[in-house]
């Protein structure tokens, strides 16, 4: 099994990526980067990352979330995060990134927040 499994689905005009696995240096980070790059190429700019299945992330993975956020913003899009595990929430708090990302616990609430 791949380190990070990413399944894409459409919810209205928002693209949801259901992620399962680890976002760590190497395979996991590259998989996230590739997925975001492909969505932007397809003109999909409203992206919601469902991180419920991501039990582990390292500093490289956090960096990849930041890079994704920046790349999507640059294209006039929005990246939001859904269902962070406690560990991931802690890591985003330590890095002071919780205030940067728009984070939701429930999908309907996340979807309705997109303009």
């Amino acid at each position: 099994m791949a380190e990070l499994d990413i399944k894409e689905r459409q919810a209205g005009d928002v693209t949801v990526l259901d992620m399962d696995g680890k976002i760590t240096i190497g395979e996991g980070s590259v998989a996230l980067r590739s997925a975001i790059r492909r969505l932007l190429e397809e003109g999909k700019k409203k992206i919601l990352l469902n991180l419920a299945g991501v039990g582990y992330i390292d500093s490289s993975g956090i960096g990849e979330l930041v890079s994704s956020f920046t790349a999507i913003n640059k294209e006039g899009g929005q990246l939001k995060l859904l269902k962070l595990t406690q560990k991931l929430q802690d890591l985003l708090a330590i890095t002071k990134l919780l205030t940067v990302f728009d984070v939701y616990d429930e999908e309907p609430e996340a979807l309705s927040s997109y303009k």
Partner: protein, 176 residues
Amino acid sequence: MRVRGVLHRRTIPVRLSEALCFEAQARRRRGAWKGHTYLVTEETTELELESRIESIADAAEVAAQVVRRLGLGDEAAFGVDMAVREAVTNAVLHGNRQDKTKKVDVSFRGSPEMLEITVRDRGTGFELENVPDPTDPQNLMKASGRGILFMRTFMDDVEYSRHPEGGTVVRMTKRK
């Protein structure tokens, strides 16, 4: 990767697969192994790693074995795993710059009081005070630079020094 284990001050060269078996035998601090009774008072595991990305997960795997043998809890185990991954990442990427001729040495020294981990690269070194604070608002959106913050967050002590024969050594301790 070469792994060398020292159990109760006896040096035993082992391959990784054997190290896993060794771990299973040594999980209890006092027990029997090949008909001998042993008591783990202090143990050291040393790794010599290639400067490549895959080495990071390999080091974390061995760290997990050591942590289990020492009986550290889940929270400490998570912190050690994170710190080892970040330290080896820095050694492979920033220290040795993935130069295949340069090795990364990792050692785990467990005692009843603490776990001490050292990671040495063969790089040219860096000034710790020149490393930008990743939580400074002007650095928040940078893609890298959070590894040392994680190491400091999850370990009790983190110290950097220059190795007399070259390279940077980071020494991290987790008290039990």
